[in-house]
Symmetry: D2
Subunit: 342 residues, 4 copies
């Protein structure tokens, strides 16, 4: 079959190779036929070698945001069958460790990640595990929903945790109206009564944020902290969600958060520095957020089916994977790029 693989960390592109089809190796394995595979900034980082510590060895197939149809199942598989339309959570979890038992499978102690620590979804077929698969309505097209499982899931997870802080009259600031932030705005509107303020440098992204439900948008032009304070009676917001995590946004987040408020870190790349005196006098909570759980994915799929959340995607044929990566790097993609095998 055709697959896009990383061969080395110097050549800055994926290679379209003809490779053997994956096969069932354990009783829980499932092979899915890929219908759509999202392209993520993390794929760029894989190409740069940043994730080499967890790689299965070169060359391997990238792509960790996948949806498709069940193609073959292992002998112990009971919850999906050949032909089912499925979204694949990016973790294949064990179901048996303590975190899995507690419903916190995003911290599974034995998980592996197709596209990062095993062959992924920039291909025609992919091996994953039964526990990663969420069966969805067969009328849905995998290419339209693949982006739920990484961009969507991460945003949902953070907002779901933030929701318990948000009561009527409260404000939530969303820093960054990219793929994750736009979903974050929609989930905030669906789960909470909070007023949503979006901070974003690009004008067209602010317009899109307003369209999907932001009550206020603020240009990230150097005055963004003051603008947020002005919109919050000078006190700051009960919740700040930082979907950027670099270029100074964590410091902005600390400054925008109200006394006794919470800053949720979702994006990464930069650093957070804050005095312990500020932590204490403000009684601030700073909360890191990883990927969501399987349960989060199912909840997000429900919200999407109900129309409360919608994704913005741009399709590329699998063969054009390097174009997609290039466009992503240049900031030329609105929403999420999704590869579709021909």
């Amino acid at each position: 079959m055709k697959a896009a693989r990383v061969h080395g960390y110097d050549d800055h592109k994926l290679h379209l190779d003809e490779v053997p089809e994956p096969t069932i190796r354990s009783p829980y394995d499932v092979i899915i036929r890929i219908g759509g595979a999202g392209v993520c900034r993390t794929d760029l980082h894989v190409l740069e070698g940043m994730w080499d510590f967890t790689s299965p060895g070169l060359p391997f197939i990238v792509g960790h945001e996948n949806a498709g149809w069940v193609h073959e199942v292992g002998s112990a598989v009971t919850s999906v069958e050949v032909g089912d339309t499925v979204i694949a959570h990016s973790f294949v979890t064990c179901g048996l460790c303590r975190p899995c038992r507690r419903g916190d499978d995003a911290h599974c102690e034995r998980a592996y990640n197709p596209g990062l620590s095993a062959d992924g979804g920039f291909a025609e077929l992919m091996r994953t595990g039964e526990r990663a698969l969420l069966k969805v309505d067969p009328s849905l097209r995998p290419r339209d929903i693949a982006a739920l499982t990484d961009a969507g899931l991460t945003a949902y997870h953070a907002v779901r945790r933030a929701a318990r802080w948000l009561e009527p009259g409260h404000r939530a600031v969303v820093i960054g109206a990219g793929g994750l932030g736009l979903i974050g705005v929609q989930v905030l509107r669906a789960l909470t009564p909070a007023e949503v303020i979006v901070v974003e440098p690009r004008e067209e992204s602010r317009a899109l944020a307003a369209e999907v439900g932001a009550h206020h948008t603020v240009a990230a032009d150097g005055t963004q902290v003051q603008q947020v304070l002005d919109l919050t009676d000078g006190h700051g917001a009960e919740v700040v969600l930082d979907f950027v995590g670099e270029f100074g946004t964590p410091a902005d987040g600390v400054a925008m958060a109200r006394r006794a408020g919470a800053l949720f870190i979702v994006g990464y790349g930069g650093s957070l520095e804050v005095s312990t005196l500020t932590m204490i006098t403000k009684e601030l909570s700073i909360i890191g957020n990883a990927a969501g759980t399987y349960d989060d994915l199912a909840d997000l799929a429900t919200l999407t089916a109900q129309g409360a959340v919608r994704l913005h995607t741009t399709e590329y044929p699998l063969e054009a994977v390097n174009d997609a990566l290039h466009d992503l790097e240049q900031g030329r993609i609105q929403g999420r790029a999704v590869l579709v095998p021909s």
Copy 2:
């Protein structure tokens, strides 16, 4: 009456002055006769001018950790009467703002603080407000319980919040076995099933920590992070409480916390620096802690009455206030110094 006042930020000592007795000025005011007033590191910082931003103007009486007997009450006071034995919360709150209404009076929008923003308790009498007063059993001596209201309360508040993270088999690390840390250990034992690990440089303080309930003590000798990891199967602890907040303890706390764990910042002075990548991959929560609420103070007083928490104090006559401050600065006080008017 006699009172210890700060006259200026250059003379490094308090002045024992003869001053007029405080009088009732608003319907909710209460004058208490001081039975004991705790001496806190913050008093040293007041003398250094660090709290000038909130001072009522020089000279003024310091002392924010007070207990005594009700001496006189304002016209609207209904919950205490002359002669009652009381502990004074260090905040005089309004009871009417939204935080007070929610039970979160530590974030009262109109509070004042005797000893910091008004005359305090290093004196024979002090003016405070009805809402600050917790009536206790008349058999208790104010000098024995004054330390509950700042050292004790802050420790209780942080542990009470941490308790919800702690289930059987979990570990809680306490960094710093000083006045607050020792109370923290006892409250952890009273409220949670967690195994308690204390990190502390001084040997005698580690011994005291073990005596009041720590399961393990670790010398803070440069290997403390590794020692904690060794005691926690290499994973780190579900909860870390940093009662120091400077000299590198926040970085230690991040390293000692387990994936999906929480670091509670209680001490202050230093800075916290952490990459957003660590926040996310570890899914760490970092939680600042201010003073406790009135409700926290009442709960802590209950635990103390039940014998679950005991305080360690050293008494000084009010006239020896500068000796007490000096001994504190030199690290020569075990537990808490308490001034007692003659």
Copy 3:
């Protein structure tokens, strides 16, 4: 001034009397000029003598759902001033007992209730306390918002507590689309992602429920339990809110609740009977709901100001109070009857 008083429990009507104006008696007292006073089924019960156990002695002025303008304030009052537009919570709380301190002032140990245990608001002026008053925008008319403080508050309180059980894909059943139920539907939509199912016998009330946000309406015609099961894949709903509390609705609620679900009891009059085997095999939670807190009232006022909740009221002049009571008894009032002094 003019006031409607209950003189005895046999004459089935209130008496319009000329009575002295109320005066300030304690430093916290506030006299408000009534702008609107809601008429409640509880007023009918007062006339029947059901609340005699708490009455201040006959005759007295009823009316516990009041809004108006501040007319006079006691010497210790700081948070409102003459002329302010206010909604009056039906409890005048102490602010000093443990429940008040915790933010749970609906369980204040020293509260009194104008209209039940003291003179109420079917009059031109009413004495209440500072702590009961929520200041609102002066552009609001008291007659339009009086119903927030009993009907609205009770519904809000129950839904706010239920909201933590409701995630995407969950269902909430509202039994009874009267004054409270209609507000309940709107608050469910504002605070939760749940699908809302309303069970109600009257066709026009079902239509109104659908108009304010119910996803499904079910006729309470004897098949209502089966209809709810049909709408919930045979499993029942995660949350059932019973705004009726008699005529068999509690048993319906138990049958409509899903395994591990919750039944919130809001209405009263009847009895709940359930086998302990059902409680256990279903792992059902049955949760009684009293009036809301001051904080709930402020949150509800915020939702109303944001347009997320609107009230349906019918005005009567104060002199027509017995007409209003009669119409209420006959089920002829849509929404809430509100008395307006001329």
Copy 4:
């Protein structure tokens, strides 16, 4: 092998039969060699036919409280191996349904129960599933810990849920100091700062309750409600745990609960009847409790390993199963009867 089976619902005893050994049938199956099997009041109910609705067909082997050693594993089993010492949760869950995914596997939609809906543990070998097995230290004897998995687990689960209601100074009433109640007392002491009051008719059981940690014991002699009110300043307890659930205890529980308190129903057999007016004016929560989750079992095993909980058991050889059932019926067993295959 030897096994005790129910042949019919008229003969009031189990039959000791020679039956074929169980075999692996699915990839997740595990055969365990029974080291100890607890005898439960539910086994008496099975003999009476009360559980026929879920039975696998007659005759079948009862016994749902089992511990032993792994004897054989299916092809997909990864978390236990032959020879491991294990406790068997009484539910074999799927791990894939939404409740399992959320960590709430006690509500698994596809679970089966050895001893109730499949052959159980009154035998030399038993078939169960990997997901039911908790690996414990090999130094433990299965006969000593078998009772953790039904009596212990149910008590732990209820107390763990109750713990969040219990703060310093609060009181928890335990109705019934039988096998479950005694564990409940110990778990309350381990997880909460509450004062524990035990209500129990038998004097020797009250003595045992005091020995394992109850602060007060109350004779259930008709005055028990008044005695509890006397011990709680006339207000009742914040939490009441009813481990009996019949003979009037639910009504007692309602009367013993404080305003805004919670009644946890654990025992079953009787009925709960309460007016909706009481539910509302008291703002009472009544919470049904089923078996605990796998996670609860692991937590309880940890507490037991730490010495915070200990079990009281009486051993019988498997052949004496009918003696054990008889003694249980006659109330002659202190703690739990455990069958041990010879």
